[in-house]
């Protein structure tokens, strides 16, 4: 079991991470090294195909890296001996397309994992879920099915579904990219609140406003590499890198 507390300097420590396809022809990640500390909000930006989603999905091993190491709370999750399922319970993930379970109600979506994996009783799990639903102002939709919700509501549910497992870090994979413009705000507001509460977050996004306002650090990736890893003001206000300037000129 991996419950023994391990001393570690960074919550997540990624070293020389590589992900190659077609026997090395395509390098989605080409030597990425990043540290993420507790309470940080790290925003990952970059052009499409830059490897930012692959990087994020590697953090909980939805993508299996070709080489390199990822230490999460001091444990190398790429090691074959590690029980990745136990670690994933502590790493929540929010997807671009929500991925709520359509055959379950909102409340069941939120209580399934806590009940089956954390062994919570139905009442406990539901109390926790209702509490979180209140936070995102969706208490009245507990009995609804995902197909009855708007995109913004679905994504807020997806966030609190991840929170139901009380994770140590939340990974966001372009959480607002599939939303209608008028619904982006409500989702970003929830994320801001979480950030203010001290939740560690890694966010892949195209929302530069969010990166500037909420991010502690902005990582700019291009062609599978980290080009810049700095404070938002350093990245946005005086970008001293040609590729970054080209990218920002396109998106801002």
């Amino acid at each position: 079991m991996n419950d023994k507390p391990v001393n570690y300097s960074h919550l997540i420590q990624v070293t020389d991470l590589k992900k190659h396809y077609n026997g090395g022809d395509i390098k989605a990640l080409d030597g990425v090294s990043v540290n993420i500390d507790k309470g940080e909000v790290v925003v990952v930006i970059g052009p499409s195909g830059s490897g930012k989603s692959t990087f994020l999905r590697s953090l909980n091993l939805l993508e299996v890296p070709t080489s390199g190491s990822i230490l999460f709370e001091g444990v190398d999750i790429t090691s074959p001996d590690v029980n990745i399922n136990r670690l994933r319970m502590k790493m929540g993930m929010v997807f671009q397309h929500f991925n709520l379970f359509p055959h379950l109600t909102i409340l069941q979506n939120m209580t399934l994992a806590p009940r089956k994996l954390l062994g919570l009783k139905k009442e406990e799990a539901e109390a926790r879920a209702m509490d979180l639903l209140g936070k995102v102002a969706l208490s009245d939709r507990a009995g609804a099915y995902p197909s009855q919700l708007s995109g913004g509501q679905k994504q807020r549910i997806a966030i609190v579904r991840a929170l139901c497992m009380s994770p140590d870090v939340l990974l966001f994979d372009e959480p607002t990219s599939a939303l209608d413009p008028e619904m982006v705000g409500e989702v970003l507001d929830v994320m801001k609140t979480l950030a203010n509460e001290g939740m560690t977050m890694v966010v892949v996004t195209h929302e530069m406003g969010f990166a500037k306002e909420v991010g502690n650090r902005v990582i700019f990736m291009d062609q599978g590499r980290v080009v810049m890893d700095n404070t938002p003001s350093a990245v946005f206000d005086n970008p001293d890198n040609e590729r970054l300037r080209t990218f920002l000129a396109k998106v801002l």
Partner: protein, 254 residues
């Protein structure tokens, strides 16, 4: 009164009616011949029911092996798990090819006269043969259902901490099952009708029962029509039941 009524009808109609009545009595009432069909119906339902259960059990297992292989094997580290998965996949592929590539009657006869030639239990052999046969078709139906579920569902389950099997059980299979319910129902209807070849191994199912009557009375019309009618009624009833279930499952999402 009755006689008077009959007298008013044309001769050919009265003759036809009398003939029909005689036929009915000859084929079903005399010597309690209806019992052949009734007993046969029991056998048909028994074989179908247990073959369906066996088919589902085999089908789900085979479908999970096949889709697990297709989904995971490229990402797996070389090792004992991948080796086992490859072997299992090759085995079930062989099973699917053989079963789907040969007629069920031939499989039934091979089961009875070759594999279980020492067994006298025709019902059990029929259940095994039809169940194993059905399993191959059910497997492909369920596999297509599993493959039709968006991969995001799978990733969402895994990202919460569910292992592969838990994700399958709690998240993928319930959705897949709902998607393939019409195809599964169709498979069971086919299976019910396919058991009518049980006579090849001398099992007295409903079709064989009707045929026995025909061989006793030398009249084919009544017994065979009765058999056909009973199959039809069961199939229609079952179809109704399935569409009711489908509607209820759909409603739960709206």
């Amino acid at each position: 009164m009755t006689l008077g009524f009959m007298a008013a009808l044309p001769d050919w109609l009265v003759n036809w009616w009398t003939d029909l009545k005689d036929q009915f009595i000859l084929n079903f009432i005399k010597d309690d011949r209806y019992r052949y069909i009734l007993k046969g119906l029991g056998v048909t339902l028994e074989v179908t029911f247990f073959a369906v259960l066996l088919g589902i059990a085999i089908g789900v297992i085979v479908a999970i092996i096949r889709s697990t292989h297709d989904k995971l094997v490229t990402d797996m580290r070389a090792g004992i798990a991948r080796f086992i998965l490859n072997i299992l996949n090759a085995l079930v592929k062989l099973y699917l090819t053989v079963i789907r590539g040969t007629p069920v009657v031939v499989q039934l006869m091979i089961a009875y006269f070759v594999i279980f030639s020492s067994s006298k239990n025709k019902i059990l052999v029929a259940i095994l043969a039809f169940g194993i046969n059905s399993g191959a078709y059910v497997a492909e139906i369920i596999r297509s259902g599993i493959m039709s579920i968006d991969n995001g569902q799978f990733e969402a389950g895994r990202s919460l901490g569910f292992n592969y099997v838990q994700t399958m059980i709690y998240i993928i299979i319930p959705q897949a099952f709902k998607n393939v319910l019409p195809a599964l129902a169709n498979e069971f209807i086919v299976l019910l009708k396919e058991t009518s070849v049980s006579g090849y191994i001398g099992l007295e199912d409903m079709t064989k029962g009707g045929d026995i009557i025909r061989s006793r009375t030398y009249s084919a019309f009544m017994p065979l029509l009765a058999v056909a009618l009973i199959y039809l009624v069961i199939v229609v009833f079952f179809s109704r039941l399935v569409s009711m279930l489908e509607r209820r499952l759909r409603n739960s999402e709206r």
